[in-house]
């Protein structure tokens, strides 16, 4: 699935195993799952509802940099909107659906792209609204 959506080479997931529990798929790299009562094992990788699956922001932050399509690098103003959790119009070479959103080459998280609109999928508690941004999203040379 990741291959067809993001063009992520399989080698990205070398040594990584997956398991599904209810609606969620988890990724982990362990020699074994220990024989004990576990609250969680590894990192929540994506959620699945019927035929629709949605990658988590943390999975994209970890594996998304290997994406070769449906990935977009935002400029400073756009990135600011994205991390504030906002929706914005964006012209980009993306198919509708979930996309990898990055800024200056580092992945910010998951976005939903539909008909030219990009909606931030960052978890609410991680969003940073404007007055709070310490790290101005400069272009470096500006």
């Amino acid at each position: 699935m990741w291959w067809s959506r993001f063009g992520t080479p399989l080698s990205t997931f070398e040594g990584v195993s997956f398991y599904r529990k209810g609606r969620n798929v988890w990724a982990f790299s362990l020699p074994e799952i220990p024989d004990m009562r576990c609250e969680s094992v590894g990192l929540r990788f994506m959620s699945v509802r019927g035929r629709v699956w949605k990658p988590t922001t943390y999975a994209l932050q970890l594996f998304g940099r290997f994406a070769t399509k449906n990935a977009v690098d935002l400029g400073p103003d756009q990135a600011e909107k994205f991390i504030a959790g906002e929706q914005q119009s964006l012209e980009a070479d993306l198919e509708d659906g979930y996309v990898v959103v990055s800024h200056r080459g580092d992945v910010l998280g998951c976005g939903l792209y539909t008909r030219g609109e990009l909606v931030s999928q960052l978890p609410k508690e991680r969003r940073i609204v404007k007055e709070g941004i310490e790290n101005c999203l400069s272009d470096g040379d500006s």
């Binding site: 990724a27 982990f28 790299s29 590894g42 932050q61 580092d106 790290n135 400069s138």
Partner: protein, 298 residues
């Protein structure tokens, strides 16, 4: 400040401790090598004009001259983890290796767990345990943000953690937290000998269980952020006496000023061995206060 007076006789330049304790802690963070590397991160911070200063003693530590480091985009991306400088010491002393089996017995909210996961390069097994329901939520979210995928979170009472063999066990014990006074001065007023002694029972039981869980040749590290010898040397020396086949190993970190563990306190003799433990006072390195001991199972 009364809570500190009892340490006048053991702390070098005690007056400097009193001065230091009222100053707020510097904002510090650790670079998360599971998601970035040092050069890349420092480049990002420079480009974004975030003022920072790398630690002299640890290449992955940084002082940040910002008010809300939690609002840095690098924090959102999990490239840094905001963490008190001196607390980075215990994983370094634990020295976990990729592929090993490691237990973090008192793990929440996961500053040290995520540091250990990065030292293990996400390879091997890292069990992060904490019984506190609410704190486990932040433990989990910190592990996810850090991109740690070799972590299993459990919620046992550490004293009864199920039998299993580990190469290394960290006991970053619940304590009276006097060393964190620079974050919240009221910890000093809340301190009482009774609280220290109550925690001592729990700490002894946790450390003792940790020594059971380590395999022969394995390492157990015990740390607290309090000055009270009742919760430090009195715990370690008790366990060293009670448990056969454990020995203390000398702890030191080049570049950080410290004091050896106490040989005696208030009429109790802990033994010369305790000098192998280490104490960090806030005025020595401009950090919080900390205690660390390293035990090897034979």
């Amino acid at each position: 400040m009364d809570g500190l007076e009892r340490y006048r006789g053991i702390v070098p330049e005690f007056e400097r401790l009193i001065e230091a304790i009222v100053r707020p802690l510097p904002v510090t963070a650790r670079i998360n090598t599971l998601k970035t590397d040092r050069d890349r991160l420092l480049f990002r911070l420079r480009e974004a004009k975030v003022p920072f200063q790398p630690f002299s003693w640890y290449s992955l530590g940084l002082k940040l001259d910002v008010e809300k480091p939690g609002n840095l985009i690098e924090n959102l991306m999990g490239h840094i983890h905001v963490q008190e400088e001196i607390s980075m010491v215990s994983p370094i002393i634990l020295d976990p290796k990729p592929g090993e089996r490691v237990l973090d017995l008192c793990a929440a909210p996961g500053s040290k767990t995520t540091q250990i996961a990065s030292m293990m390069v996400n390879r091997g097994l890292l069990v992060a345990n904490d019984p506190a329901n609410t704190r486990v939520a932040s433990l989990r979210s910190n592990c996810e943000r850090a991109g740690a995928i070799n972590v299993v979170v459990t919620r046992y009472d550490g004293r009864r953690f199920p039998s299993h063999e580990f190469d290394r066990v960290l006991v970053d014990a619940p304590c009276t937290g006097q060393g964190m006074a620079r974050k919240d001065l009221s910890v000093l007023d809340r301190w009482s000998l009774k609280r220290s002694l109550g925690l001592q029972r729990l700490q002894r039981a946790l450390l003792r269980r940790a020594t059971d869980l380590a395999k022969p040749g394995g390492t157990v590290v015990y740390s607290t952020c309090t000055f009270a010898p009742e919760e430090n040397e009195a715990v370690v020396s008790w366990v060293a006496d009670q448990v056969e086949r454990v020995r203390l190993e000398k702890v030191s970190i080049p570049g950080l000023e410290s004091c050896p563990g106490l040989v005696e306190w208030d009429g109790s003799l802990f033994g010369d061995e305790m000098e192998k433990c280490i104490r960090y006072y806030p005025h020595q390195n401009d950090t919080g206060g900390f205690f660390v001991a390293k035990l090897i199972k034979e």
